[in-house]
Symmetry: C2
Amino acid sequence: MNLIDGNEVAKVIVAELTEKVSALHNSKPCVNFVRVGDDPASISYVRKKEKTAREIGMESRLQVYPESITQSELLQKIDLLNSDSEVHGVLIQAPLPDHIDERIIFNRVLPRKDVDGFSSTNVGKVFQELDDAFVPCTPAGILELIKRTEIETTGKHVVVLGRSLIVGKPTGILFLAKDIPGNATVTFCHSQSSKVSEHTLKADILIAAIGKPLFVQPEMVKEGATVIDVGINRIPDLSKKSHFRLVGDVDFDSVAPKASFITPVPGGVGPMTVAMLMANTLKAFLLTLE
Amino acid sequence: MNLIDGNEVAKVIVAELTEKVSALHNSKPCVNFVRVGDDPASISYVRKKEKTAREIGMESRLQVYPESITQSELLQKIDLLNSDSEVHGVLIQAPLPDHIDERIIFNRVLPRKDVDGFSSTNVGKVFQELDDAFVPCTPAGILELIKRTEIETTGKHVVVLGRSLIVGKPTGILFLAKDIPGNATVTFCHSQSSKVSEHTLKADILIAAIGKPLFVQPEMVKEGATVIDVGINRIPDLSKKSHFRLVGDVDFDSVAPKASFITPVPGGVGPMTVAMLMANTLKAFLLTLE
């Protein structure tokens, strides 16, 4: 069994981006974060992203608005960022308050600044395999882990557990693309699927993004498979001070001995997400030079 | 074996649309076709679509431009149609001349008039399962055949042969949606897939959209499967006056005895495409009333 260390791969990507950004003499890529309200998780995510942007030498900006901001006020703020030529990437941190329609907000970000990749236009471009698409950060991180671990995908069978709009579906679609990594036979399973084990047992690469703690057990995994765990679940653990611990969708301890490659949780896919956001921001900047 | 008669189903849909359109008192849905050059197949397709629109009681318009039209001239023509409030659906007939980038043309059509469903924004909306998406006509036709034949899809295994942007990929994505028909386990195979028969043999519903004449043979099909043939291939046949005949991607004569339901070629998926274009046009019209 080989561990795929997401922290290490993310570090390498951050180092590469740092070098690329320092080679840009006259201007810096700038990513602009918008946060609404004071959700502790959102504060922490945005802080981590800002920190990484600074580390790479990118400019980062942040606007924080109160929970009470109206949808139309928030749309106006996005319009300002769309028309600000100094801002290359715009990220509206989810979740937004209930009175705001996230879909309308995400779709307001100009496609060429949509570094999160959540707008319909960008989702369509990913599907259409267009070069100027921004691949959403988690799926992009998964593919990058596969690529840098030099795991063959052409003609292999990838089984994706989960059909969410931001992980399961786009990840499977990327593995199906006429690209490397890609060119795989892809099966999607989900909550309505029957005989899930029959499918997972055939997988050369198994992507677990179903949000069920420890769902993937060793009897569901083919000997020698690559197992990518996207799940982040809290389960009770009285031995911990916090009384919980984080586990993935894969029962790591029992599955790892059967896998040729496997990602841990935490420290697998998670750290890649921020790195890929920064890669998207550099891409958005470079698109402005074309 | 039960034949799924696409001509019959398309007729029923056309009759339903006719009734719905006649119930609209003050105005009519209007679809606008744009043809460039004199490709005989394009002339014939557009004529068939115009005829069906008239039959339903929709208004149809057609502009024909010479092969020599420049891309920017064609974009200007599309802008005029976008801003024409009397035009609800705009269809630019493919293929376009080589000096014109189809992607740029298709993306110029306003998403709410994009009845062909080829723009990136619309493709993204289909992927995101949004209500105002226009499902591209061939995938929409396939799902409609499944729905009206009352073939169960939830939890079933759909295997799609082919990963084209306008048929294979969107069709599989529709079967995966949280909808009925949908909720299926979906596998995509294509030219880079290995052991294709192992996958197809598991399919409850097999969609052949790979463009290889008679590719699907009986030993690849599970007893009792539903087989949908999207292929339209010419093969030599000296017994015919034209010296060729049309066949699908499925060897119909030998596969039919094993299938519970099967579409013929011609007369299966093909006739549905035009019917679904008209359904999309009515939808575009109704969206203007919201």
